[in-house]
């Protein structure tokens, strides 16, 4: 189980959003830290096959990320995603179950399971437009988990979640990380400090630091701020 990124570059006219990045991800949680505009979203969109790189390659166990085979094992929660306002939470998840290739019976069971997991079972029949920001975010997370992904890419997943929900979310991600490759981008250090097996720090489209952070290394937040102040 390896997601390999090799000399990946994305250039928009004169701006280089991602600059020759190379790394590989294995089972476990990887935190992608970086300020706004660091290139995290562009990198993630290339990793899920939504954006074509200007150069470089990404593959998962030799499977290219633009392939159907890869999408079959992929779970993705974009930053600032949309929803269908007239759908209920249950309809929203059932629709994504169909998009992810689950038959009706499996879709019903998985939807019920996920609604319970993200604590939305009581409001399953309510229209999504009536959901709070945190509820919508939880619904998005549930959507990313539908196909029990082997590769889970989460772009700023904790945005809009209250402190209690954040704790629940971290526990959930930690659990998933035992079975899958999880890449979680954020600019909030505490989101990844305790759960990430590995940290990648990005700035101006490049990796500025990567490695495993241990408690005895001190405060990740301080290190992060120091790195970006330099």
């Amino acid at each position: 189980m390896e997601l390999k990124i090799d000399r990946l570059t994305k250039q928009y006219d004169s701006k280089i959003a991602v600059d020759r990045m190379s790394f590989s991800l294995e089972k476990g949680v990887t935190g992608l830290l970086g300020a706004n505009g660091a290139g995290k979203t562009t990198l993630m969109r290339m990793m899920v096959g939504l954006l074509s790189p200007t150069s470089g390659e990404i593959n998962y166990d030799g499977i290219p990320v633009k392939s159907e085979e890869y999408r079959n094992v992929l779970g993705y929660l974009p930053q600032d995603f949309g929803y269908y306002p007239e759908f209920s939470g249950k309809e929203f998840l059932m629709y994504f179950c169909a998009l992810k290739g689950l038959d009706r019976k499996a879709a019903k069971a998985r939807t019920a399971e996920l609604l319970k997991l993200v604590g939305l079972e009581d409001v399953a029949g309510k229209k999504v437009k009536k959901y709070s920001g945190g509820m919508k975010q939880r619904l998005g997370i549930a959507q990313a988990l539908i196909n029990r992904p082997e590769v889970l890419v989460l772009d700023e997943p904790t945005a809009g979640l209250d402190p209690k929900e954040r704790v629940r979310f971290r526990e959930l991600i930690e659990k998933i990380g035992k079975e899958a490759i999880v890449l979680l981008s954020t600019h909030i250090v505490s989101d990844v400090e305790n759960i990430a097996d590995r940290i990648i720090m990005m700035n101006s489209g490049q990796i500025v630091w990567q490695g495993t952070w241990k408690e005895e290394d001190g405060s990740l937040e301080d290190f992060y701020l120091k790195t970006f102040m330099q």
């Binding site: 992929l74 949309g82 992810k100 689950l102």
Partner: protein, 381 residues
Amino acid sequence: MEKKHCFGALYEFELLKILKNKVAIITFLVLFGYAFIQGEFEVRGNISSQELSKYEEINGRTIDEGLLDELKAVSDDAGNVTDDNRKGYQQLAYWIEEVIGYRAPIKDLDIETIYSKRESNIQEGYEAMCLTPEEIDFWKSKEKEVSRPFLYHDTIRSSGILEGTTNYMLMMAIIIAAGLSSIFASETQRRTDLMVSASINGKKELYLAKILAGMTYAFGCVAVLLITFYAYTACRWGITGMDCMVQSYRPLAQMNMTLGGLLAILVTLLVFGTLLIASVTLFISNVTRNAVATMTIIIGMFIGLFMAGLHVPLKARFLSQLLYLFPGIQVTSRVLYDYRLIKIGRYFTQYQVAPVLYIMLSVVFIVAGYVFYARYEIKNN
């Protein structure tokens, strides 16, 4: 995880999205209400059921010298029938006026003059439309199939049904623009396309599900509106006069066809025109990814092509004939006196070619739309 094809479920959800679109529902309901208004007022005209019998007095009579003499006896020189109980003769006078010209005196008119004037009008039509000798021969052979002298029949109710039907092409363009403009556009505008595109069935199956859902909505609407209009008309007034020849309605028509036959042609053109407009709308929604822009383009294009078709001189034959193939112009009684033909091995009338053309163009738009959809890439931020 094993991939399953979930086309059925995707289709249901895509249809559900359209049916939960408030703009689509409100537009449909307004035009659904209009179907009743048409059934009541367009078909009735200004004539109540009690009065209708006064118009039916001479139905089925041969338009010959005897009938013309009777008209002269009950009308003034200009063909005005003053006796309110002889309305049938007034309708006959209008029919003659359509052949010999508005307000032309009928006092010294004989039946041969009417038929020869009709022929010379048709000849003028041939010249105006720049027909080739082969096309003229085609119509002359068609004319021979029309039995003469013509039988008179009032078209009070039947013309209302036919003209009511012709309104539906514009109504369908409005309904389609309101309902289908957002099918592809809203995915981008709401930013759901990020999650959808990263899903396994997010391309081919979803594209086809969206197309089929859009077509179901369009055909469902046209079926409901037409059935409502015809059912209301049948219950309120009865569907009468559909077995009389088209010459009762449009004297210059050269087809051996009943009004029922003409109605069937208009409905066929309407259905296939709906297919074309829906395909174009879905294509534009896919390309622009903007619902308002799509709506504006569709309605603007409909009005623009309709007006252009009517204003481009007939002398510019190719362009004029091409514009007449536009559904907004085809679904009108013009199909009866557009003498221009299209040669594909043998000669075909415009209305015979139009449905085939609509199907072919629809396929082109759907396939081109898929190519565009498959290549579509999310724009960063």
